[in-house]
């Protein structure tokens, strides 16, 4: 009897039930899409903020104090401390290796151009292809870390092409001063050696770098007489915004208690990633670039908070919408409930029939809504960030519980109100 009534109700009022299912579908899809986008927005924005360049620089221990005083002291470059090129791959073996997005080595030296003019030459990776001991591959270099460079003439040096180690990119200011064009050969020399490089690109960086020459690592190391050595490494890592613990740890990791240390070490704070890089690169000092690291944190926090509030708001809206409709649809069934009571149905069984009906509708709407929400989330992900939104399985139970709670909250008070009415009055109409 229960099932016959149920089936009857479901099919007889197809239109009405469809409408409820549709509204629940909308609410569920809204909740699914918003929750997923909210949970993923931090990672996505973090990726976007990588356009600001590296947030960690690694320099040799000794030079971290006097590096800027080179201009004044003009020390012999072979004398001062350097990092080892052979250890570069180690950066991708640290605990937070997965969060290291890009890293690029640098070796810089003063060179003399053929007309006697002095300038700075920097050897680096452009789009280096790296095979890691773990079997992974990584394409990294300053093409990723200097996204703001405007290569106005020519193009980036392509390390996949032959002869890249005879190429150079020069800054726009230097090109203008020395009247160098793309395709020209420039001769640079130091007291150690001499190289002839072909200019393949002229860039506008909007800073000091406009006066420099960039070339690949090998010729720069020969010029500086530092084979296999590096003067600095820039690392771009995805980090968690700093908190009190991170600030305390940044000062002195030894001051932490064991459990605090564990938490700190296993969280992607910029300070813990720096610490881990120092562990794998001999005699190095890794320090956060405050300009990038601090700002990143605050922008990510704000964006996440903004999305959380918008999500909560739209969820409340959806919940009100659903429970509203459910209430309205239950109220309109006063006649039916009155009739059931009149022919002797118990309050409990009426409640059971009506609730089961609505619950079945809610489940159908909710399941369909989850998939619709999946679609919405992906639309947002692809059109804004150009990548898929990571669907968290955690969202499914949250949405399910929310839908059931909202439907119950919408229907039970209405049913109870109707049960309190007298059947005779209801059937008579008012």
């Amino acid at each position: 009897m229960f099932f016959r009534m149920l089936r009857g109700a479901m099919f007889r009022q197809k239109g009405k039930m469809l409408m409820i299912a549709f509204t629940i579908l909308l609410g569920a899809s809204l909740a699914t899409a918003m929750l997923n986008v909210m949970m993923d927005v931090g990672d996505k924005v973090n990726q976007e903020l990588k356009t600001y360049g590296a947030n960690i620089t690694v320099v040799p221990k000794e030079s971290s104090i006097i590096s800027e005083l080179y201009d004044v002291e003009d020390s012999d470059s072979t004398q001062s401390a350097h990092l080892l090129e052979s250890e570069l791959g180690n950066i991708k073996t640290i605990f937070w290796a997965f969060n290291i997005v890009d890293f690029t080595p640098f070796i810089d030296t003063k060179v003399t151009l053929s007309n006697g003019e002095e300038t700075k030459l920097v050897g680096t990776w452009f789009n280096h292809h790296l095979e890691l001991p773990t079997g992974e591959t990584l394409d990294t270099g300053i093409a990723n870390l200097r996204t703001w460079w405007d290569v106005s003439q020519g193009g980036w040096i392509d390390e996949q092409k032959n002869g890249f180690d005879k190429s150079a990119m020069i800054g726009s200011a230097l090109a203008k001063k020395e009247n160098i064009k793309v395709g020209d050969a420039i001769e640079v020399k130091t007291k150690n050696s001499k190289e002839t490089l072909i200019v393949t690109g002229i860039y506008d960086a909007g800073g000091d770098e406009d006066d420099y020459i960039y070339t690949s690592l090998a010729p720069a190391q020969r010029l500086a007489n530092c084979e296999g050595l590096l003067s600095s490494i820039e690392v771009s890592a995805l980090t968690t915004p700093d908190n009190e613990l991170a600030r305390k740890a940044a000062k002195n990791p030894e001051a932490l208690s064991v459990s605090q240390y564990e938490t700190w070490y296993c969280t992607a704070y910029v300070s813990s990633i720096c610490y881990q890089i120092q562990e794998v690169i001999t005699d190095s000092v890794a320090s956060p670039v405050r300009q990038v690291a601090e700002s990143e944190g605050s922008i990510m926090e704000k964006t996440e908070l903004l999305m959380i509030l918008i999500t909560i708001f739209s969820l409340i809206g959806a919940a009100l919408g659903i429970s509203n409709l459910v209430t309205a649809s239950v109220m309109e069934r006063s006649n039916e409930i009155g009739l059931m009571k009149a022919i002797g149905a118990k309050d409990g069984s009426i409640l059971g029939v009506v609730l089961t009906e609505i619950m079945i509708t809610a489940v159908i709407g909710g399941v369909a809504g989850y998939f619709a929400g999946y679609g919405f989330a992906q639309i947002i992900g692809w059109s804004v960030f150009g990548s898929a939104i990571d669907m968290k399985p955690m969202v499914i139970p949250i949405v399910a519980v929310a839908i059931i709670a909202v439907t119950l909250a919408g229907s039970i008070p209405a049913i109870r109100m109707l049960l309190r009415l007298r059947p005779a009055e209801v059937l008579h109409g008012r």
Binding site: A33, D204, A205, G206, Q291, E294, T303, G317, L320
Partner: protein
């Protein structure tokens, strides 16, 4: 006149009589309108508020002396600043660099407007105090390590004029001027600033004994890329001794990231609005469908289809108007709440949004009423009244 009176009386009576159901409908419309006005307000305000956050990345424009000029005079800075909208200037920090001696070692000293530097470079991480008065120094982390000094220590800084070092080698007793400073804090930036010492402009003038022009000026301006470029063109063209440049790294990246964030909020707003509007429409449809009997009765009593539709639409639009009006204020409150929580600043009220919200909610409710009323009026009254 009388007819219109009757119309309103019927509408209000019908709304009041069916209080509970109308409350349901009104609530639905209000929620929709709140979401509409709240999200749109946030969407309009986010670029401005987020733009302010992006000023954390530091200066986005610098003035350097143009070609022939030795330095930038402070009067030139003032005249260049007149080209920039005052409200958009977050901070201005002029810098003057001198090589000074501390313990017989050369160190670069930067004289600046310290408050301005604080505003242009909010990411500077200072251990100790930011210098408050003259005679106080802010020293880079590397300098602090090199000399083993910290907050509260004194540091004597010697300035040897460039001409003295060449001409008066034998005159070793004359070693320039020495001034004692108190270190108020150490600076951690992860950049070259860690090798400098910072002092106020008047201190560096006292130390060097001369008033010189600035070597460069850093500016932090909250404006979009195009606006900044127009400032650069105007200043470089009109102020002869100043050459303004954009800090590409900051401006370029800001444009990329900010446009993504704006697109995100826009898309979220559109999706949420679309779903909410459909939700409101279904609720209204349910409320109207429930009154098929009433429609049948009226038809049986001889009401024309047109008058029934008009009455129902009037009812719906009245609800839409009231709901939209309440919702537009609630939405502003919500947007304000979000803004206070996220950005710690209040949101600008968009008066234009009230009519927009009103029109949208009236439109949606009218549309949502129209369809079920139409289908109800097409049915034979006898069938409707009989039930089913």
């Amino acid at each position: 006149m009388k007819k219109q009176n009757m119309f309103f009386r019927m509408i209000t009576a019908s709304l009041l009589r069916r209080r509970s159901r109308m409350v349901v409908a009104l609530l639905a419309i209000m929620v929709g309108a709140t979401i509409l006005s709240g999200l749109v307000t946030i969407y309009y305000d986010v670029p401005r508020q987020m733009g302010e956050q992006f000023r954390n990345y530091g200066a986005n424009m610098i003035f350097v002396p143009s070609g022939s000029a030795e330095g930038i005079k402070s009067t030139d800075v003032d005249s260049a600043l007149t080209y920039i909208d005052k409200d958009n200037i977050v901070g201005v920090a002029p810098y003057r660099y001198e090589t000074v001696m501390v313990n017989e070692r050369p160190v670069i000293a930067a004289g600046t407007d310290l408050d301005g530097a604080n505003a242009t470079s909010p990411y500077w991480y200072v251990t100790g105090q930011w210098p408050q008065e003259n005679g106080q120094l802010l020293i880079g982390k590397d300098i602090a390590e090199l000399y083993g000094v910290g907050e509260g220590d004194t540091m004597s800084v010697t300035y040897v004029p460039a001409s003295d070092t060449e001409t008066s080698d034998e005159n070793t007793k004359e070693k320039g001027t020495t001034v004692e400073f108190t270190v108020s804090g150490t600076l951690d930036t992860g950049g070259s600033e860690e090798n400098y010492i910072f002092m106020s402009i008047s201190d560096i003038e006292k130390l060097t004994g001369e008033k010189k022009s600035y070597d460069m000026v850093e500016l932090s301006i909250s404006a979009g890329h195009d606006e900044l470029e127009s400032y650069v063109d105007k200043i470089s063209g009109d102020v002869p001794s100043v050459s303004a440049r954009l800090v590409k790294r900051v401006t370029q990246s800001e444009t990329t990231v900010l446009s993504k964030l704006q697109a995100l909020v826009l898309l979220v707003t559109v999706v949420v609005l679309l779903l909410t509007m459909i939700c409101v429409a279904t609720t209204m449809t349910a409320v109207v469908t429930e009154r098929r009997k009433e429609i049948g009765l009226r038809k049986a009593l001889g009401a024309s289809n047109k008058s029934i539709i008009r009455e129902f639409m009037g009812e719906g639009m009245m609800l839409g108007g009231v709901g939209g009006f309440l919702g537009s204020f609630l939405g502003f409150l919500f947007a304000q709440l979000v803004s206070m929580n996220v950005f710690n600043s209040s949101i600008t009220f968009q008066p234009l949004l009230i009519p927009v919200t009103l029109v949208a909610s009236v439109g949606v409710t009218a549309l949502a009423c129209l369809l079920p009323v139409r289908s109800a009026t097409e049915v034979d009254p006898a069938l409707v009244l009989k039930g089913e």
